[in-house]
């Protein structure tokens, strides 16, 4: 990983976290499912790098925003499911409102 990418990745951490939390707000999901859903919801605009997704999941688990359990996936395979915790939900709310404030501000500037 070059230095440049790392910096971008750092900046994106917060956004990715928010999107993952948003995805899980709909219910427990495994890693692949999260990636799929993000891609789908963004109408294929956002391609989630698996290399960033799993570290993000582990990081958020360490922070206590999400929890994980082993379960069985739709196609009857053992998969690790992640679900939102109470503090994860609070985090999602906080990040969402701060994101809205930011994009709102940017919009206003662009439309001025």
């Amino acid at each position: 990983m070059s230095k440049e990418e790392r910096t971008n990745a750092d900046q994106l951490h917060g956004t990715l976290d928010m999107l993952v939390l948003k995805t899980l707000a709909a219910g427990p999901q495994h890693g692949y499912g999260i990636a799929q859903r993000l891609q789908h919801l963004s109408e294929e605009v956002l391609q989630v790098e698996e290399g960033s997704l799993y570290p993000a999941l582990y990081r958020m688990e360490q922070r206590g925003w999400i929890g994980s359990t082993w379960g069985v996936s739709d196609n009857n395979r053992r998969a690790r499911f992640y679900q939102l915790t109470r503090s994860g939900r609070r985090q999602l709310d906080a990040e969402t409102s701060s994101w809205r404030r930011l994009t709102g501000a940017v919009d206003r500037i662009l439309e001025a």
Binding site: H30, Y54, R59, R78, A79
Partner: protein, 877 residues
Amino acid sequence: MRLFRVIADRIRGTRDHDRVAGEIADELRHHEDLLTERLIGEGRSRADARKEARRRVGNRAHLQDAGYDVRGGGRLEAFVQDLRYGARRLMSAPAFAFIAVVTLALGIGANTAIFSVAAGILLRPLPYPAADRLAMVWMDNSRINVREDWHSYPNYLDYNTRNTTFDGMAAFNRRYLTLTGSGEPERLTAAHSSANLFDVLGVRPMLGRTYSREEDQAGAMVAVLSHGLWKRRFGASPDIVGRKIVLNGASREVIGVMPDGFGFPSRGTQLWVPSPATKEMRQSRTVIWVQVIGRIKPGVTVAQAQSDLERINADILRAFPNQKGYGIRVEDYREQIVGRIKPALVALVGAVLFVLLIACTNVANLLLARASTREREVALRAALGAGHGRIIRQLLTESVLLGALGGAAGLALGWIGVNAFVAMAPEDLPRLTDIAVDGRVLAFTTTIALLTGLLFGLMPALQMARTDPVHTLKEGGRGATSLGRALRRGLVVIEVALSVVLLVGAGLMIRSLTRMQQLDLGLRTDGVLSARVSLSGDRYREDAACAEFARRLVERAAALPGAESAATIGTVFLSATPNSTNFSIEGRPDFKPEERVEVPVDSITPDYFRVLQVPLRAGRFFDQRDGADAPRVVIINETMARTFWRDENPLGRRIKYGQLSSRGEWMTIVGVVADTRRTGYEADVRPETYLAQSQSPDVGLALLIRTTGEPAAIVPSLRAALQEIDPLVPLESVHPLNDEVVEMTAGRRLNTTLFTVFAAIAAILAAVGTYGVIATSVEQRTRELGVRLALGATGGSIVRMVLVEGLSLVGIGLLLGLFASLAMSGVMARLLYEVRPTDAATLTSIALLTVIVALLASVVPAVRAVRVDPVTALRAE
């Protein structure tokens, strides 16, 4: 709850790393499979899809690590891993590890030992409840310039009854009592005290009771035993209370036993009895015989207590003009006990901290030197994806491991050191028995070992973590960065400066000790045997019996085979407050109260000055003419003659103890002897008078025998002789008189020895450090040196170059160290004896020594530099 789960997870995770790693692998495989299927669905070939999925999931091992941090042992596991790795690294460089551990052990061991001593003496509470409220109350006697003098009994009563700042004040003093009756007669260290001593100290008897106020007033014949005496002499008999024992020939009833560990005023006190109750002692303000300890009221400061007593003292001075010159001084009891040795302890603590700093610097330097060879390894790990944090953590784990090993070895060294200290310490060192390696010391050592590990490891670790992997790997991993080199040089300068400060301190202390040992005490103690003989009981109530006893004793002792001459005196060496009295001179007016001079009172047998080989300056010694009925005679010392008969001949003049009006008899001066330093090295010689034992018999005698051979050899025949004269008189404390002289300098000797040892360790460490830096520098410049040699540089010029490098480093350190020493001269001055902290000879010799050590440390690398073979050096590239 989550925290518990996480911790439990981690501990479990550490145990089964494979399970956690496996689960993560499963999860990633699941993802990969689903992705592969989707890609196939999008029309890719199976192989292609699998490859693409793998690429997208990325470095599985890396993710596994990241996930493991969360789910598995994480940091704990990493720590264990680091520890194992560190241990492996150390084992692969045993020489480095050994030197580092020994260096740290020296630093930590010295600190452990001195901390144990300092903690035992300064920190551990005194064995009395609310001991911080105990204070000694002294008379500040400006007449003889003694700040810790005793009081008269009426003055004590005034202070005790009229103060508003003390819960209570007790009067006490040491005395000796001879126990006879059951077994060998024995002289016991005892104390007499007012009844409230035990209340003031807050200690209750273990058995029976202590004496009452009424018993104290009456001087009742009762006694309280120490736990030790009760066990030793009375077999810990539970029905001791009520029994009669014989002390100084008189019967006393045992009324109580104190608990184990109680010893006041000194550790060895074995008996407590009420104070003597004669009218003169209890009512005269000029008989000074009690010491006073008080318990200050809660919330009252020593200064407030002081001014309270000053107020009472002012009243006393107004009412009794003969008290002029007597002040009052309150001193915190702990300060009283430890104040004397505090400066020395503080200096020692400073010294060992310096040693520890030097040790740390040295190990940091070693690590930095190793850093150059490890840069490749670190760069490789960084390239393989280890983060900065992880690398620093790993390097620090390694240095903390070194610190821990050094700490363990240091603890062992410290334990040995503490025992050596206690063995070497002078007997009168306060609180000697409180010195031990205890939990607090363990905690201290552990803390400094870990802190040390962090301290010396941090700089090299930060330095290395900054390594740019690409650059280093390309460069072939050779050579420390220039920053690293500058750092190492800076560290050597600091090391040298610190060791110079210690060396200067040690040098000054050694000079002080030599000065002191060269000082002539004025009496020859070598070859003289000393023993204590105390007369007590009815048989010695009469002066004549005491005089006769002493006469026969010295006569028999001098005739023993191996004996040359013998004499007695009360005590040869005096405390700061000896038994003394003022005096007046016939034909001159009374001294004004503030001009009165106190002289010690000693009775001697005729040969005393001959035994100790003190020269006679004028007149004669005592002889058989000076019997009990003959005119009373006195011998004075030179200082007394000079002070009071400056231009006159004192021989034939008469003096008497007390004022002109006192009932004392006139005594004719028959001799003047040379001055002797009986109060030790550090006190000025005072005027002294000696009386004849035949005219003023003393009952506590120091028997002195000058022997022709080994002093101890005559002890058996001496015992037999004493047995014949009086079997009930104990012979005690038999020792070469020289021991007392040696004991006088014991504290200083111990201090000097410790300081010298620490300075030597510091100097050796600094030398090793200098050597290390110069050697590495030569090694790293092999190619440069090769080129120089190839270009025709002479061996001499290369040697010079290397030596100059070493000397310039040491030179800067030396200058800094000398400046620091001068800056600290105020601290040192208190520890010195007739040597100034800026003593030029000491500073010069230390500077010279440092330069020589620097040369030695640089000469080996310099010679190695010359041996560089230009061809090999260049080819090595």
